[in-house]
Symmetry: D4
């Protein structure tokens, strides 16, 4: 279990701040916290995401591994709601939804999305939330 | 504020799983959750960090921006404890500790570390925790 | 998510303090916290509502937009209970219950009530509580 | 004490959505949640604020009573941080900070702000948080 | 909602400390916290109950009103568990279980028990937990 | 530790419902929840207090033991605030504030108040909150 | 109810630190926190388990009573998940799963496991979680 | 961090149930939950301790390692309170209080007690609570 008061944060490059806002706020339902000339920050599922304007660092193609970030939901209904949001707002899916490690204790559902700057996001939900780490 | 039950997760490349364990568990005080042939997973300050064995994806040099991840502490004493841990265990500091956005509402302390595979970590603590997003 | 210890507060005009108590305490189930000659304060679903005695400021007719206040419930059963309370105690309904933004990610149920001084209240419940902001 | 999962919400008129975003997000540190042609919604200190585009309903002059909304902080340092934010970002103060009901059990500090559409906000902090209702 | 850290407490007379322990600990499942020559204290559903040895103050007959104390459960299953405990351990029931205020917003289930010193306990559970005050 | 969602409740007699409201709401800062012809209910520090109109059951003189009820505060400042409230609002003190069990592990501060119907209230605060049961 | 911030801890002997890690981390899903030459520490279901390298103190045969340790789950589904984990990972079961104290208020399910150093673990789940002490 | 609802439990032998109650309840401030002919159970700092009547299994001499159990406090004042309790009630100290791992990140205070059946208890408090596992 994690603290409610601290925040994880992750920073990724973007080729365009407006596109980042469009995807994260009006797409994924994150909240816009602060905006500067060279970056924009979000309240992303309760943690902080920063998109730095740095077109040179943007990946040419989205690749699932090794770099990605996202949220693991403790409850199945929250994963389902994420899938519904993806469908309603036609967010770009890289792969999935799929079940991984099937038939093992760490079985979980997963879906990979892509943001407009080819950053890869993964959302997961484990049958046994204790094994989500 | 974030949920205590869901977990953020971030995945990064590593050139060596044992080195990753040494740095994250015996250095930063994360906890080893699971280990496979091609990856190791950690309970990293209550969230999940995955190090994928992928030497080709490891950065040649650590660079602060745009890609990094870490924790923003709500309380000053938790940032101080992190600094003490860094000193006790002689973790590699990329820059800082320093104060950023000084004299503004979003003033905060920050320190950048590097893991053995040149992944960059940032720890922060804002004067006003409400602005940590 | 919000803090449990701070309180939102909203202040509205009333033409009669006794009527306000009758509606908010014996109608909506708020709790009377303090009463002065010119105002009465309530614990309204855990936040603070203040009714100031100011007949001149009372609206001639209740209008849904733009001014209203209320509670968004995270769980469907709490919205249902509010509807039952409205029915049991025959509180005045301005419109609804209805479903808004149907077929979108932000779909939610809503009902508008009116207090005896034509202040408008809205109660809501989103299919996806993450989108309640 | 209030629930962490439900949200209070309040809706007010604005003469300009961009101005509202500028004041609430880049001024008060609220977070932009959703934006439509006729309204913008915020995560305002953990609760929901909606600004409806409705210039005709905007008040000619800001008046402290009876209509206003805001947050009552349980801890003195959070009120102090709000005052610092107001100073750093030069937000418009209508009156205060001042101490009200001095020498009584319900003594509290208060400050009134104004948004660009003459909506009035009040922030408070009681010596005895139990009396904040 | 109430704080988790403070404790309500109630003190009642008993004609016999051992009998009090037998009823409250081995009957109702309270926990024995402290025992003195003239009193015994219990962790009673998370709050404090004190039984003072004072046979003269013990009521001749148990009467439901006006003096009694007990717990109001937020969830129906906790009330059901209490009823099962009463049955399993054959605790003395004064009246009920019954439904009170039927068909109104404050409808609730209730059961009255008696301790060996004729102190009356009431356990309740409201359809709408918000109205349990 | 106790649950936040359940509520303790205690019922006592009163000779006059208005007097009860005056003392508990405008004196002690409890909140009026419901009022009937024969009883009034309060949110009393997060738990439920019911005053039943039953003049015959009212005690002739207030006596500290064995019957009383009240709150044990986990933190010293909350006990201090209660004492300040008592002073500001000139509530009737039966005895104390005093320190009991001095020099032992269960040392605590205590004050006894009386309501207008001779019901006795005790507020306490232990040096070691773990021993408050 | 217990605090979230303190931790229970239990220390037991092991004949082999690697075996202990294999059983507790890769078997039971505990997390490796620290490792020294003579001991290894785990985050075991949120509490601390320490295995001291002390082959002489290891029991010759596992015996259920009197020495064992484990977790009592408040919810049935968490006990079921533990059973599933045991099956998936073929952990050694000493006895059970079984139901104890059947037909009484303290009825509960229980299963006994053995670690590689003959330390005995018991996991339980009570029909009435209030009686889990 | 651990769950508030589940409970750790540990079972140890005792040569005498009354002695166990005397030490754990009237000494250490645990609470007596249940008592049978062959065992007694306690709410021990929020977790469950069971003392099984099994004189043959009682250790001849108390030894600090490897078998012991206890609580690690997150806050220094709770460790201090435990030390005060030990002094007030003259509980038997096996060693300490002492500081271990001094000058390292995992520096902590520790004290070892002994119960009447030679079971060893350890209480600890880490400078950095994150390293308490």
């Amino acid at each position: 279990m994690r603290s409610t008061h601290d925040a994880f944060h992750v920073a990724v490059p973007t080729h365009d701040l407006d596109e980042a806002v469009r995807f994260y706020v009006f797409g994924l339902g994150a909240k816009l916290a602060r905006r500067y000339d060279d970056r924009v920050t979000f309240d992303f599922f309760g943690d902080q995401l920063v998109c730095h304007l740095d077109p040179a660092a943007v990946a040419v193609e989205p690749v699932e591994y090794p770099r990605h970030f996202g949220v693991t939901f403790a409850r199945a209904e929250d994963f389902d709601r994420l899938l519904q949001l993806v469908e309603h707002r036609k967010l770009r899916v890289l792969s999935g939804p799929a079940t991984r490690f099937e038939g093992t204790a760490e079985q979980h559902r997963t879906v990979f999305l892509v943001d407009p700057s080819n950053n890869v996001l993964e959302f997961k939900q484990y049958d046994d939330p204790r094994l989500q780490y």
